[in-house]
Symmetry: C2
Subunit: 335 residues, 2 copies
């Protein structure tokens, strides 16, 4: 069995910078493009930084055409600044982090009311707002507690393209039904794992991410929505590489590195559930329609021959452990 | 400020065996005695093994008098075997583990109905049943899902002394109210932490234990019950040492090592809440009354002068990291 995908997109990707960028960028090249997250140190906050980061990514790629949908770390920009951003090649949207909620988000937003003018301008200019939607509450409630903020934004700015990033709960899916201006990304791991896989047996640092994996009924709802072809649910890996030493040491950093295994594993899952005909929309079509994107023309064929996942990816002095490290996945990319 | 405790007891303690026993046993000597858990490899299942283990513990202690309340790993024993156990010096009760639920519990019980005769005999003979009450369900629900089993046991064997070990939820406390033949132990960490402390920020392997720490409202209910002097809630540390390498490596083992910090930290907490007058019952009186114990006569004085907790305890080639490693606790044992 095989499937050929047109221009698959990863709508939420962390490539980092420096040596880690050199290691990870080529491992996303089975995708035709990706939305690139701006939480570097310091974060990407200006058009100049964005262009420079985009150029570093291009350089780190092996030459394969790759659409880099670049984001700015949300700050309360004015009209001039938003105009400048909008006319910056590769600019895609603004990524909003509540302050201190995840890796390198210390400079995030602590009071949304102060950003009202920026949201209004983004709505007028057609600039998407991508949000890491978590409160500072109890870890299992953080997404649920943020939903009223999503509702507030969706209602107050009905023409704003609003993306709930890496959703993890059935409740977030429910909200998606209510507002046509809202879309959501979901990661590979949140279609597969629950908190049981992170902390139900032994503690598994390589499956620890933010938002943390939730309950079985949440995972099941997300998977069913993806398999059934929900038109505003998009694949965004949130692939988040950390050096092996920072994942396995005491106090491990949050993030699952899935970029190199995502497409084969998705094909395996969708095939097993008889839903391969919805995979194209999940990994590309829904995003292209919602945002009006025309990514690099690429065709990627996946086949049900096994992929052996390396125990780690190593180069440039960096070492990153992927999801399914050392295991076998039922499908692979035809090269 | 200071308090002198009469014969404090740790009603749930793991001392392990071999070099780890030699390291950990002396670190529990601020207690006058403890209920010793039987999950060695192989588990302690016969009076001979129990006596031999008790002797090894005595040898590992520094000579301080210490009441060793020894338990047998639950197996469906008959009348003769229970009689033999009952007449074994140091024998306290049977510890029941659902099969495979925690460290070295692979040989546990998978079908409670098959143990009916044993429960009935224990009830007649006055042998306590201590239970690790978790289902095999979703990690946050395991204790709640086991409560109906506690109810079943409490109702079917109304004279059986039944202990819900290391409870972590408000729901378990509620059950405690309903059955006078049921008591419960609670650990130090479950009075203090929630899942947020384990996996809400960075992943913290040294706070990872089974049952896993639950929600803030659960922690708050447990703390209030302890502070208010609930007559059937007893301190049981569940202090569970693992070699540092097994805690910090990928796939870390479950257990928090609290034995050397438990009494000072409890004194600090009870003092801060103006509940010092309930500490004696929590760490000794409740257990003595419920089980009719007369532990070693000992007096331990605690004072509000800080204790500096070592980064690790090392000896006999073993290394264990305690809760509050490298930190300071407001109270300490007067020596």
């Amino acid at each position: 069995m095989e499937i050929t995908l047109n221009s698959p997109l990863d709508m939420h990707l962390h490539l980092r910078d420096g040596d880690m960028l050199k290691l990870t960028a080529p491992l996303s090249e089975d995708f035709a493009g990706a939305v690139i997250m701006p939480n570097l140190v310091p974060p990407v906050t200006t058009p100049e930084m964005l262009q420079s980061y985009s150029a570093r990514i291009e350089q780190a790629m092996s030459g394969t055409p790759f659409s880099r949908y670049m984001t700015l770390f949300f700050t309360p920009l004015g009209e001039k600044e938003l105009e400048a951003a909008r006319h910056t090649p590769g600019f895609f949207g603004l990524k909003l982090y509540p302050a201190g909620i995840t890796t390198n988000s210390e400079g995030g937003v602590s009071d949304l009311a102060r950003a009202d003018k920026t949201f209004r301008l983004m709505e007028e200019m057609g600039i998407p707002l991508l949000v890491h939607g978590e409160s500072h509450g109890f870890v299992m409630d953080r997404e649920a507690e943020f939903l009223h903020t999503y509702r507030h934004l969706a209602e107050k700015y009905p023409a704003l393209k609003l993306s709930m990033e890496h959703i993890t709960t059935a409740a977030a899916l429910q909200l998606l039904e209510e507002y046509p201006n809202v879309c959501a990304t979901v990661t590979l791991q949140h279609l597969i794992i629950t908190l049981d896989d992170v902390a139900g047996g032994a503690l598994k640092p390589h499956l620890f991410c933010k938002p943390i994996a939730k309950r079985p009924e949440d995972r099941d709802a997300l998977l069913q929505a993806a398999l059934s072809g929900h038109p505003r649910l998009m694949f965004g890996s949130d692939s988040a590489p950390h050096p092996r030493c920072r994942k396995e040491a005491c106090g491990c950093a949050a993030g699952v590195f899935t970029a190199p295994v995502a497409l084969p594993k998705l094909a395996e899952i969708f095939a097993a559930e008889g839903a391969l005909d919805h995979l194209q929309d999940f990994v590309s079509g829904n995003a292209c329609r919602f945002y009006g994107l025309t990514p690099q023309a690429r065709k990627i064929t996946l086949r049900d021959t096994p992929m052996q996942v390396p125990a780690a990816y190593r180069s440039y002095g960096e070492e990153v452990v992927p999801m399914y490290a050392g295991e076998s996945i039922g499908w692979s990319v035809v090269r």
